[in-house]
């Protein structure tokens, strides 16, 4: 009689110790990989952003007389008072995110990176940008103009003065 025959026969579907340990090893490796990935992504995600807030003040109505275009490089937007309407446009080109510039002589907004051109209403005059410049809502709060850069409004919305 062979020694092997004396060993207790394992059930057909029951995994033996070696298989169990191998599976446990693979599983713990998987857990470690997922854990490392989660920690890496969590660590790389900035917990605090030292960036300008979404809601920003743009002074009073008196700071923006009729016919002016004010550019804020910090908040990356234009405050435009035109035809008795006051509105705020994003200054970030909708093509690939460069900062646009208001051109006083042509009364257009130009992007230096790839030559997109926008009207003072934010409409695309010339590509490669496909989308108009986003328009942010302006609210009058106790004489102060507050612009919410986190929201976008339709192309005709403005503060009628």
């Amino acid at each position: 009689m062979l020694l092997d025959d004396l060993a207790e026969q394992a059930e057909e579907n029951e995994p033996n110790r070696r298989e169990f340990l191998a599976q446990a090893g693979v599983a713990s490796l998987g857990v470690a990989t997922v854990g490392t990935g989660t920690v890496a992504v969590g660590f790389l995600s900035p917990a605090v952003l030292y960036e300008p807030p979404k809601k920003v003040s743009a002074g009073t109505l008196g700071d923006h007389p009729e016919g002016t275009v004010h550019f804020s490089p910090e908040y990356k937007l234009y405050v435009i008072h035109r035809k008795r309407r006051l509105y705020a446009l994003s200054a970030i080109c909708t093509h690939l995110g460069c900062m646009t510039r208001y051109q006083r002589d042509s009364r257009e907004i130009h992007c230096p990176c790839h030559g997109s051109r926008f009207s003072l209403e934010g409409e695309v005059l010339n590509g490669p940008a496909a989308e108009p410049l986003p328009r942010f809502p302006i609210a009058l709060q106790e004489e102060q103009l507050v612009i919410d850069r986190g929201r976008e409004v339709g192309p005709d919305e403005a503060l009628v003065i």
Binding site: V41, L44, S45, P46, L49, E51, L96, G97, C98, C113
Partner: protein, 259 residues
């Protein structure tokens, strides 16, 4: 009282030399082989190297030259790291200092820049040569894949280095590039946020690109190059077309005498 002559113990210098190089002078085939096998840098050569594989026009030495430019970039880059600080308030000034104040700073900076351009060019030509020589075919197809990854890493190194001077070109170049990344359908904005450490290019982005450029990408590239060369060696070195000329020995014997 032995009649045998006493063997003289070798001198100190000789013993030190023997502790480093453990084979004799390469004047026998065995010692010549040992010289290659026992040297970390020479053993990238396969066991047998054909004479025609060593000719310049077999490979134009493009892979080796790409590796050489990478070595040049690591050395010149380490020098630049001594003066450069990846901080929005200092980066541009440090770069200008390297150009105008630091002795040999401009030379090292220009060397780094030209070597970077050269490495991209050489890696591209290497890929072309391997393609036209059909050296990507089995069993080397996975080494081709590694090569393409190495080309990508080379381009990523160029791109991450592009931000470090912190001038207008760098700033808008990376603004545009990361906006292209955010156009990726799945998780584009997430990748952009993790890469920049913010919604736009700023101090966080500068140090992230610095770490990628100076440590992570070169480390990955070094491992990749080791893997690439190891597979190349195991596959028998340079992939040559079937030999169609006269007998190999005949050519070496009739050197200079053939038409």
């Amino acid at each position: 009282m032995s009649s045998f002559p006493k063997k003289k113990r070798p001198g100190f210098a000789k013993r030190v030399w023997r502790s480093i190089v453990r084979h004799g002078a390469p004047n026998t085939n065995r010692n010549r082989s040992l010289a290659v096998f026992t040297n970390l840098f020479l053993h990238i050569h396969p066991v047998k190297v054909r004479r025609r594989a060593m000719r310049f026009r077999a490979t134009y030495y493009l892979g080796g030259l790409t590796a050489a430019t990478f070595f040049l970039l690591v050395v010149s880059g380490a020098f630049l790291m001594i003066y450069y600080r990846p901080d929005p308030l200092r980066a541009y000034g440090d770069m200008k200092d390297l150009q105008y104040v630091v002795w040999m700073g401009r030379f090292l900076r220009n060397l780094h820049r030209w070597a970077a351009h050269t490495m991209v060019l050489l890696a591209f030509l290497h890929l072309c040569r391997v393609f036209f020589a059909a050296a990507y075919k089995p069993p080397r197809e996975f080494n081709w894949v590694i090569g393409v990854v190495l080309m990508g890493l080379t381009l990523l190194l160029s791109y991450t280095g592009y931000l470090l001077p912190w001038d207008q070109l760098a700033f808008w170049g990376v603004s545009v590039g990361t906006n292209i990344i955010s156009a990726m359908p799945a998780g584009g904005d997430m990748v952009k946020l993790l890469l920049l450490g913010g919604t736009g290019v700023g101090g966080n982005a500068l140090i992230r690109f610095y770490v990628l450029h100076c440590f992570i990408l070169p480390a990955v590239l070094t491992v990749g190059i080791a893997l690439h060369i190891w597979r190349f060696r195991k596959d028998g070195g340079v992939c040559l077309p079937p030999y169609e000329g006269p007998d190999q020995q005949a050519t070496t014997a009739s050197k200079g005498g053939s038409p």
